[in-house]
Structure formats: C-alpha cells, structure tokens
C-alpha cells in the first residue's frame, strides 16, 4: 500500500519554507498524504484518531492540490496524487474550485476526462 519514496534531489520542504522543524515535519506530512511510507506514519495515524487531524494536514493538502494544478508536482508524486485525490469526490471538488481560483479553468474542466482516462488504465499501475 505505501511504498518507499525513491530518492530524488528535492530540497526539504522545511528548508524551503523556512519553518520550525516540527514533529512530524512538513515533508513527512506531505509524504503521508501522498501515501509514501514514512517512519512516522503510525504516529500520524494515531494522532488523527486521538487528537484530531493537525491543521497543517489541511494546509499541505491544499498546497498539493495547487502543485498539481500548476504542474509543479514531481513525476514521482503525480501518480500517487491522482490515485489518492482523484478517487474522492470531495477532493475532486476541492481541485476544481482551486483550479478556478488559480485561473486554471482548463484544469477544472479537464478533470473529468482525466479521471475517466485513469479509469481505463490497468489495475495496479
């Protein structure tokens, strides 16, 4: 279900955003949302159930959506994003609205087609 993320030369998000090294880090939360295996996944799972989801998860979710719409998302993350985000109606709506706000109506309008084409792809890809 959750694979190891391939190594790639990406600067840590904490560095990029110059944020405090929180536990778990933003990079970890980002990987968690994309379904990459992280050493802290268990802890994040337990925290969501015990204390509720951190607001940073919502922030990072919105930012992932933005990256997807603007095409900033890496090739490694994109299929993971599509698998986890385009299968949920609630998230599809989030993407459509963000795309409109970002002035990317083309993305909003092409989303249904993208979902339909992903549906045709063989299972497990």
């Amino acid at each position: 279900m959750a694979d190891e993320r391939p190594r790639r030369p990406l600067k840590s998000l904490n560095q990029e955003w110059n944020t405090e090294p929180d536990t778990p880090s933003e990079r970890t939360l980002r990987d968690y949302l994309l379904g990459w295996a992280t050493p802290q996944s268990d802890a994040i799972d337990a925290t969501i159930l015990a204390d509720g989801a951190s607001p940073m998860l919502d922030v990072i979710e919105d930012e992932l959506i933005e990256e997807y719409i603007t095409g900033e998302m890496s090739d490694a993350d994109r299929p993971r994003f599509e698998r986890r985000f385009l299968s949920s109606k609630q998230r599809l709506e989030k993407i459509r609205l963000s795309a409109m706000l970002l002035g990317r109506r083309d993305v909003a309008e092409g989303l249904s087609q993208r979902v339909a084409s992903l549906r045709q792809e063989p299972r497990g890809t």
């Binding site: 968690y32 930012e63 986890r84 985000f85 609205l97 706000l101 979902v115």
Partner: protein, 297 residues
C-alpha cells in the same frame, strides 16, 4: 470487502459500554471518534470515508461480548491465536515476579496486546516499568503503564486481544483500555481490504454515483459565478489575501508568499493557515451556492 452490515441497537449499546460507563459521555466520544475515523479514511484517499468508519465500528461491535455467533469472516481468520496473547501475558508475569513488581491483568494484557516482536521486548517493558515505578514509588496502574511505555510499543493493538481479554475476564471494565489503538487496528484492516478489492476508479456499489463523481455535476459557469459571489462575501482583506496569495510569477511562489507575510507583519505559516481556513469556508459557501441552484456538489 467483507461487510458486517447495519449495526443493531444492541451492538451500539455495547459499543457505548465499551467506550465508558457514562452513556452520555460515551455517545459524545463515539461521535468524536467516528468523525476522526472518517477523516482518517479521507486522508487515505478513500471514497466513502464515513461508510468505512461505520464498518470499523460494526466489526468492533461484533467482537464485544454477548454475541453467540463466532466471527466467520475469512479476512479475520485468526492467524494470531488468543493463546499467543496469553503466552505473552505469562512471560510478562514471570518477568514481573523476577523484578518483584506486581502487574495487574489489565496491565499485562495491555502490554501483551501491543508488543508483537519478541520476548526481549516484552521483558524490556517490564524492566522499564519496574525501574520507573521504583524510582518514583508509583503503583503500576494501567494509566501509569500507558504513560511510561508511550512510544515503546509496536504500532497497533491486535484486534484479537479484545476477544481474548473478554474470554479471560468477562466481567472486566473493558473501557479501561484506550480505544484508539483498537480502532486503528481495525481501520487498517478495513483500509487494506478497501485497497485490495477496489479498482482505482471503479465504483461498483452505485453506478449512478460513479457517473456523478466522474462527471462534474456543476456547470463551469455556475461554479465560477458561485465562486465570485462567495469571494464577494469575504472581508475585503481576506479576499485580497486569497487573490494575492495565488498570484505569483512561475518559480517565485515561496518568495512571493514570504514577501506577503512580511508586508502583513505576519509569518509565512500564519498566512498559510489563514489561507487554508479561507479556502475551507469558500468551499462551503460555493457548495451552498450550488445547492441553492439545485446542483449537488
């Protein structure tokens, strides 16, 4: 995915008892935990988070005492026999005797159900508890053990621990155990089945809903109109913040947002959180606006 059906009122009562002795507080706890569980499934990318959360509760309810029919669900065929748990409990008790500390059945089962790896780790838990309690002179109660051994355990409580525990101690106050690890254990099983049995974009339960999911049910013009109306409803500063936040030159997003934070004498994280909250209220507003026009988002 094996579906355990609707929850009966009796099942629900048992669940409430499991969550605590006070019915009102248990109901509140159930509602809270259900919402968190749904949110957890949502973050895993599941399509029906609430339904999957219901499934978790159903499965737990079926394992609580008073159910005559044993669980025949092949997914839960017990590879881990209850005996394993009691072997671990015996190991813990023997080690506790060596260390000259007293472990209550609650504490022993609590530890045994959370450690899967090996005997050394089981003994390590007792040694840690013994050392800690002798240092501060505390009795080893369940909350105390939970606190001292925080972070020491394997990730999840074996779901079979519930059955095994209740077989051995049928009259115990089961609510003394923290429900979160149990919920998580079940939730992960349900998630595994969900991923195994659901093709990525198939929706076998309701083809109409699948069509509605794939095809945008709201015309782009209506969404654009609603978005504009909802933006107008925002406070001037908030509206400007949202617009500025998303208006940057390619490759200069971070610099742009840092500059915005500086200009507003705020921090980048504060701005990010604020934008996320604004986006959330904007989404709710657009949803309401579309509904008012007879369109379901």
């Amino acid at each position: 995915m094996a579906n355990h059906g609707e929850m009966s009122p009796e099942d629900f009562e048992r669940l409430l008892q499991w969550l605590g002795p006070d019915r009102d507080l248990s109901t509140k706890k159930y509602v809270e935990l259900h919402a968190r569980l749904s949110r957890w499934f949502y973050f895993q990318g599941c399509r029906w988070p609430e339904d999957l959360a219901d499934e978790v509760w159903n499965r737990i309810a079926k394992k609580l005492p008073g159910f005559a029919t044993p669980d025949k669900d092949p997914v839960h065929a017990p590879n881990i026999q209850p005996l394993d748990l009691w072997t671990k409990v015996d190991i813990l008790r023997k080690k506790a005797e060596q260390e000259r500390v007293t472990l209550s059945p609650f504490v022993a089962v609590f530890i045994a159900s959370r450690i899967r790896s090996n005997v050394r780790k089981l003994e390590g838990a007792v040694i840690r508890l013994a050392a800690h309690s002798s240092l501060i002179g505390a009795e080893i109660t369940l909350p105390y053990a939970q606190q001292v051994l925080q972070g020491f355990f394997d990730s999840q409580l074996s779901e079979f621990a519930i059955e095994a525990f209740l077989e051995r101690f049928p009259n115990c106050s089961f609510h003394l155990l923290d429900p979160v690890p149990t919920l998580l254990g079940y939730a992960r099983n349900v998630l595994r089945e969900y991923w195994c049995e659901t093709t990525r974009f198939d929706y076998e339960r309701d083809p109409n809903e699948e069509v509605a999911r794939i095809n945008d049910t709201v015309p782009a013009e209506v969404r654009a109109l609603c978005l504009e109306l909802c933006l107008q409803r925002l406070d001037d500063n908030d509206r400007q913040l949202l617009r500025d936040y998303h208006k940057y030159e390619p490759g200069r997003k971070i610099e742009h947002r840092k500059a915005m934070a500086n200009a507003r004498q705020s921090t980048l994280n504060a701005i990010r959180l604020k934008v996320s909250r604004l986006m959330s209220s904007l989404r709710n507003c657009v949803k309401g606006c579309c509904r008012a026009r007879g369109l379901e988002v």
